[in-house]
Symmetry: D2
Subunit: 322 residues, 4 copies
Amino acid sequence: MKRIGVYTSGGDAPGMNAAIRAVVRVSIAQNLEVYGITAGYLGMLENEMNPLQLRDMANIIQRGGTILKTARSTEMMKPEGRTKAATNLKNLGIDALVCIGGDGSFRGAHALWEEHQIPIVGVPGTIDNDIFGSDKTIGFDTAVNTALEAIDRIRDTAASHDRLFIVEVMGRNSGFIASYVGLAGGAEEIFTPENVASVDKSIERIKESIRRGKTSSILITAEGQKPGRAYDLADAIRKKSGMDAKVCILGHQQRGGSPTAADRILASRMGAAAVDALMHGQCDIMIGTEGERLVQVPLDLVTKNEKKTQMDLLSLASVLAT
Amino acid sequence: MKRIGVYTSGGDAPGMNAAIRAVVRVSIAQNLEVYGITAGYLGMLENEMNPLQLRDMANIIQRGGTILKTARSTEMMKPEGRTKAATNLKNLGIDALVCIGGDGSFRGAHALWEEHQIPIVGVPGTIDNDIFGSDKTIGFDTAVNTALEAIDRIRDTAASHDRLFIVEVMGRNSGFIASYVGLAGGAEEIFTPENVASVDKSIERIKESIRRGKTSSILITAEGQKPGRAYDLADAIRKKSGMDAKVCILGHQQRGGSPTAADRILASRMGAAAVDALMHGQCDIMIGTEGERLVQVPLDLVTKNEKKTQMDLLSLASVLAT
Amino acid sequence: MKRIGVYTSGGDAPGMNAAIRAVVRVSIAQNLEVYGITAGYLGMLENEMNPLQLRDMANIIQRGGTILKTARSTEMMKPEGRTKAATNLKNLGIDALVCIGGDGSFRGAHALWEEHQIPIVGVPGTIDNDIFGSDKTIGFDTAVNTALEAIDRIRDTAASHDRLFIVEVMGRNSGFIASYVGLAGGAEEIFTPENVASVDKSIERIKESIRRGKTSSILITAEGQKPGRAYDLADAIRKKSGMDAKVCILGHQQRGGSPTAADRILASRMGAAAVDALMHGQCDIMIGTEGERLVQVPLDLVTKNEKKTQMDLLSLASVLAT
Amino acid sequence: MKRIGVYTSGGDAPGMNAAIRAVVRVSIAQNLEVYGITAGYLGMLENEMNPLQLRDMANIIQRGGTILKTARSTEMMKPEGRTKAATNLKNLGIDALVCIGGDGSFRGAHALWEEHQIPIVGVPGTIDNDIFGSDKTIGFDTAVNTALEAIDRIRDTAASHDRLFIVEVMGRNSGFIASYVGLAGGAEEIFTPENVASVDKSIERIKESIRRGKTSSILITAEGQKPGRAYDLADAIRKKSGMDAKVCILGHQQRGGSPTAADRILASRMGAAAVDALMHGQCDIMIGTEGERLVQVPLDLVTKNEKKTQMDLLSLASVLAT
């Protein structure tokens, strides 16, 4: 192995640059050449791949987004697309790949290995934290802290006006951001895709807390299948209880921003471990975490299983918000 | 004058606590007693008014929201409501008032003076900065910086995905937040209530910038008459150009948060000046700023005139975002 | 068990309030009464202990510092002091204690159990992360992020001036903050108490990186036995190489500030687990973390062992900063 | 005029990049070419000057530091140095200059005009705000907010431990940062170079506030002639009163970081105005602010006069911190 390629794919996540930096610098320290592939699979298909040097990595560890850009590609879902990508990679002499991304990206990576024997190691980068096989994904800690700052601000105005707020956070099919942010933000109720708390019960709880002297409340909801779920909730609450709820949808700001220390460290460790794994002949795996330790998980397992949100955080949040 | 009352009214704004602190501490230093009136005019009507001491002001200068709470009252719009409020104030021996709020609050304050001769000095507190007679209002600088942080984050993800974003900031009838945030955030286009930039022209500009190599763009819009205007804009752009624009509505997080240095200093100076004015027998005025200086403006003038957004910021932003 | 006491002791750490809130709310949910003991052991000795209610915990989860205050007490190191404290606790009917603090605090707690059979559960709260038996302590994540923000800012000015900076972070006897911040901040060299990198080797590395085109560098050092070590380092570098190094000592700002999401969640979980443990008759233990899981560790083990910094982070940082 | 040069000089300040961006984009919009001069006068002397394009300005408005780098040059203080610089500029066809920096930089600029007739317009960029002729300088607002965040954090730990803190902020010969931060941070005492509050009086005030129930205090001092003045103050207080004061020196972190909205807007307006002025044949002036308005001030006046700190902020802070 002489030359590896690195790319980011799927939704961007803070810390991806720290991972790229680790891949590049560890590779060069091991006398490997590294190519940066632009915009994920698109760059493979369109031959947008360029050598990266030590100096290109200067001053990026603290930047949000991804300097390699990212995109979703439908062409790579078809065998012909993957054949074209594999040919391009081979023409450039790229022997192996590090793929930083989520579920969908890993499916493409796994197929490239299966069909074209290109060794790939995956690094989980997504703010949603919904990747099976890793306790934490790159970007999750930053997204949670960004959402939390917004909620701390919203609590100021909720308390000043004695108001009820519904805050919608990201997390299409998963409730990780919602449950972490809800617990850390002292939310009165947390609605996740897995735990669709009943609206009636929530109204009851809010009324009960008003009786105890609490004058403002914040409910957190994951966006679910599409953004805007918070509006439906507000409507339901209004109809059933007459209570007026203000809606805030935090949206894409949760994707950006300078990564937290935890995300930079996680990304650095994972990026380094990915290169190490390739150097030791391993592939078709993802680097994950189990507690503080790094682990290796077959990509197949990663993409075929679903990671569940911790329900214990939800019940703890419920006790603590009384 | 022996006893004054202080209240916050209308939408809350970061820095209101710093203003309350200044009113209370300067008053006590002048041997005045101070009563805090809860939730603005509601507290006057319902006799929720309590003495404030030096120690009650400890550790609040950095807090968002308002410890006195705030609300809107329809009863105070009627003469009977104001008679009731005036009677309650006189029964408590409150000789004068400091009103921290916006336009609507000042209308009530002016009426209390006209109808019941209760001396009042106004302090402009609103994130919208739309008060005639003052270059800056308390809370504006904080709101602009909060929105700007969100936009910096959104730019990370816009750049990573080569996307077009429309970000909606607060400012019902005024474009102050939009124009400051747009200029400071390097926005490609700024839509304000006063300056409804044509969608066609914007599309033209965006296409032009894409030709010059810019791959992502951020448009800022003030919320206008009601939140959600950004969605209409996105629809219009999609229909007319086929470009897909993501929408972010920043919402109520812009109201909260620890005030910036500028807002704390402005609030401290204005609160102190309000008490000074009352001590010198002045009333029915608002404390405003003209550049770095504090000025006094008759409440009547304040409420009857409209403050215009600086159009020069918009044209500067337009040149700089090329 | 009917009544428990909770106190914070030793250096304050962001997240202590979230832990107090969890102890109080979980206790009350279990029909226990809770007393807050002011300023740690001082409050026990001087009978400063007061009942806490649900509402006292409102709006504190996001506050830095500790609402119960904290202090160090020499009197509690003597048996007579502990006898006095135990008597005071028994007079108030306090059956058990939750101690939020560090090593020294746990020694006192362990002695109170051994000598006076007062059941105690410890919760590790210290920014230093140097408590044996827990991967993470409350406040560490916040302190690391606070230091990291400062370093990101310092890098701006280092890069603009092509300068060498030495930044001293907290961590008297331990290198946790230094190694996390150094790795996350892209520091060129990290000096910890356990790993006294040789100054000569560092100078060599810096010169080497200058040859490769790097024009500015940041070195991180833990404060060691007393603050100011960074000045000695700067002197040594100046003498040996003629290079001028600017010194920044981050100091006590690392102790304060609103806790991060991770610290609030950790504190909430640990506070709840401490009450649970007491309810189940366990005591003389500390709640710790092992990866994502909570564990129980005998206080005796905690205070008699030393936790080592991860050396792998240092070597990773070294590779990545090339 | 066909080609202008732009450079940053002296200490770096957040917002300098926004000013460079404005100079470049407004120039290009006016069909001027722009050269970026590296590291201020050093770049002129060593011919480090390169053309800048629209795209080079992408994504820099939010960055701290200066992409053009900065330095201090002793050679430019001598006539021979300036002759060399002027020759280099003329060889490159650079007709005019925009100098972003402080007092010392403007002296060099003024001399280049006087001796070599190179038209120069100055833009005040320094965190110290100590430039005569401008109410505000680029970077001041950001530095004040950075210091304020640190002080808010320190207050958490001061309050938790009932401690006295002395915080040293930047500002060699001027008390602007100290007075703004002190007022906004609720400091109990502010020591500036112009207002050397007596230590005895301060001790008296602190003791008095302890009697009134205040248990922690923060004193702010400007660094004065050299950093470390806070240690002398702490010693004096200890000797005279026995009170133990903790010292924090905020240092160079105050120079960096993403600029606030106010600094980005100020820098954008000033950069644009500087090019406009050159286009209208004006030179040997600095762009300054008077309240909200931009003004032009002869460089000669700027460098020969001293700007005084507002003493009214100090007396207000003193009343409000009771």
